[in-house]
């Protein structure tokens, strides 16, 4: 049985229809990635699934007692709120020290328990968010552009962690990402969203679909070229690739500014 089932979901937001007639179901254990341009309703889709937004039409049904682990796009912690990593993991449900430490290990954030949340670097912060999401023993892990603000090696490592976690827990993963090349290689199913579902299917299928080309063909030549490139060569050289003409990301040191 599906974990989540969306039937004809439409969401209006301040007079604009952000999503219309979205049909989608997520099966146990699969990795589903949502791609789409800015303002295409990706976050709206995820927020409808966790129950933060009410659909204006259609229906969102979750499997009874579904446990969701949610990693938000951005989490601003007010500097007036003192919060250690350990305390954060016990929100809202208290967990034992042993479980907290396990979750941190699993998310690749082992030694951070005693640190203040506000002192973490961007990458550490995202890993702690992931650790917290794992503590609910989720059947469905939802990540909303979880690698925003991380550099490329950082986000590649983060997605590697997600794949490891999925292998260990067997949970389904639903994520939004801009990093098409990394994400599409790791997904079972890709959904291309632009207010509605333009196309969906296996990554290879979506990448060659005309709807997808229309949305991403010109703006992200670099990423698309890279994606193909990775599929043509299966050996491991993810960080020594050539950038396409429009690809302006760099391989700098880890940025520290995501949490501030």
């Amino acid at each position: 049985m599906s974990l989540v089932n969306l039937k004809g979901l439409s969401v209006r937001y301040g007079g604009n229809t952000v999503l219309s007639d979205v049909n989608l179901s997520i099966e146990p254990g699969e990795i589903v990635t949502v791609v789409g341009p800015n303002g295409s309703g990706k976050s709206t889709l995820l927020r409808s699934i966790i129950g933060a937004l009410r659909p204006s039409r259609g229906d969102v049904s979750r499997a009874p007692g579904l446990r969701i682990g949610y990693v938000p796009q951005k989490l601003h912690i007010d500097p007036t709120l003192p919060l250690t990593v350990r305390r954060f993991l016990s929100l809202p449900v208290r967990v034992s020290d042993a479980r907290a430490q396990d979750a941190l290990q699993q998310a690749g954030a082992g030694p951070l328990a005693g640190r203040q949340m506000s002192d973490l670097s961007g990458g550490q912060f995202q890993r702690v968010l992931l650790a917290r999401a794992l503590l609910s023993d989720p059947q469905l892990l939802i990540l909303d552009e979880a690698t925003q603000g991380l550099d490329q090696p950082g986000s590649a490592a983060f997605y590697q962690q997600i794949a490891t976690v999925r292998a260990e827990l067997g949970c389904a993963v639903l994520m939004v990402s801009h990093e098409l090349h990394v994400v599409m290689a790791a997904s079972d199913r890709v959904i291309c969203l632009n207010g509605h579902i333009c196309c969906e299917g296996e990554p290879e299928h979506v990448a060659s679909a005309p709807e997808y080309r229309a949305l991403f063909g010109t703006g992200t030549q670099g990423a698309l070229a890279l994606y193909r490139h990775e599929h043509n060569h299966s050996h491991d050289h993810a960080h020594n690739h050539n950038h396409g003409p429009d690809c302006d990301h760099s391989h700098g040191d880890a940025k520290k500014d995501i949490a501030s």
Binding site: A52, G69, Y70
Partner: protein, 270 residues
């Protein structure tokens, strides 16, 4: 034992401590959620409650509680409707204060009491007031204690709350009710104009000493109680108005705490 409550100073001390113990932990949420003006607006609206209670000859506590609740709910509802929060609160806080003051002027023969409601009159706390204050304070603490984890999660991020099955709007409502209760019990102690100070200053003072939210709430409560007792003592010694003296002492403690924190940080930096 019962004679103890006959002393107006003992009653005043107990009233001050009771209000401080409830206001400080709630004040932490006010600080974390950046609702400082929200507390102000709710408090200012309560003068209208005083006027209405006097006009209809009902208890001031009930009048204040109702208007505070109405005010807080109005602000919560309007907050996502186009105006920036601080603009909206500025408009509502000051206009409700103005309306309250005008309404009071219509009532004959109670103009003398106005100062007591604006700045509090802790020395006039009676046994009944004391029961109301401690009852209200206990209720607020109970509410915070029962919903602590949910409140904290909703404060951190509404979406995290939703994903965990917590409705952040309900938690906001809990805080709104707690705030109205604190305003209603604190009006006798520090008055309408200084209630927000009792919420904010102890919480802000506690921040440098805390590494978890719980510790911050606890330290804030202690600092609040200390300010109440010390302020009462100072007001008695120097014959100054009690409510403002309590707030002055809290402010001095805040300055000391901030300065200490600054020096410590500089020392750490070498």
């Amino acid at each position: 034992m019962m004679e103890l409550f006959d002393s107006f100073l003992v009653r005043a001390a107990l009233a001050g401590v009771g209000v401080a113990l409830a206001a400080a932990p709630l004040g932490c949420f006010v600080v974390w959620r950046r609702m400082a003006y929200f507390g102000d607006a709710t408090a200012h609206a309560s003068i209208l409650g005083v006027a209405l209670a006097l006009a209809f000859d009902t208890s001031v506590f009930a009048g204040v509680l109702v208007t505070s609740l109405v005010m807080a709910t109005t602000v919560s509802t309007l907050s996502n409707r186009g105006y920036a929060m601080d603009t909206l609160l500025g408009v509502l806080a000051h206009s409700s204060l103005a309306f309250g003051l005008v309404a009071v002027s219509f009532l004959q023969g109670i103009r003398i009491d106005l100062m007591a409601y604006l700045f509090g009159d802790i020395l006039a706390v009676g046994r009944m007031d004391l029961a109301v204050i401690w009852g209200g304070a206990a209720l607020v603490l109970l509410l915070l204690w029962a919903r602590w984890s949910a409140l904290l999660t909703a404060t951190l991020n509404p979406d995290l709350a939703y994903a965990a099955g917590i409705d952040p709007k309900r938690e906001q409502m809990v805080l709104t009710i707690a705030l109205a209760l604190v305003v209603a019990v604190a009006i006798k102690v520090v008055g309408v104009l200084l209630i927000a100070a009792l919420l904010l200053i102890p919480a802000a003072t506690a921040r440098p000493f805390a590494n978890t939210p719980e510790r911050m709430a606890l330290i804030a409560a202690l600092i609040g109680a200390l300010s109440a007792l010390g302020g009462l003592q100072l007001a008695f010694t120097f014959d100054t108005p009690t409510g403002p003296t309590i707030v002055c002492l809290a402010a001095v403690l805040f300055a000391a705490s901030s300065l200490g924190d600054l020096l410590r940080r500089n020392a750490l930096r070498g």
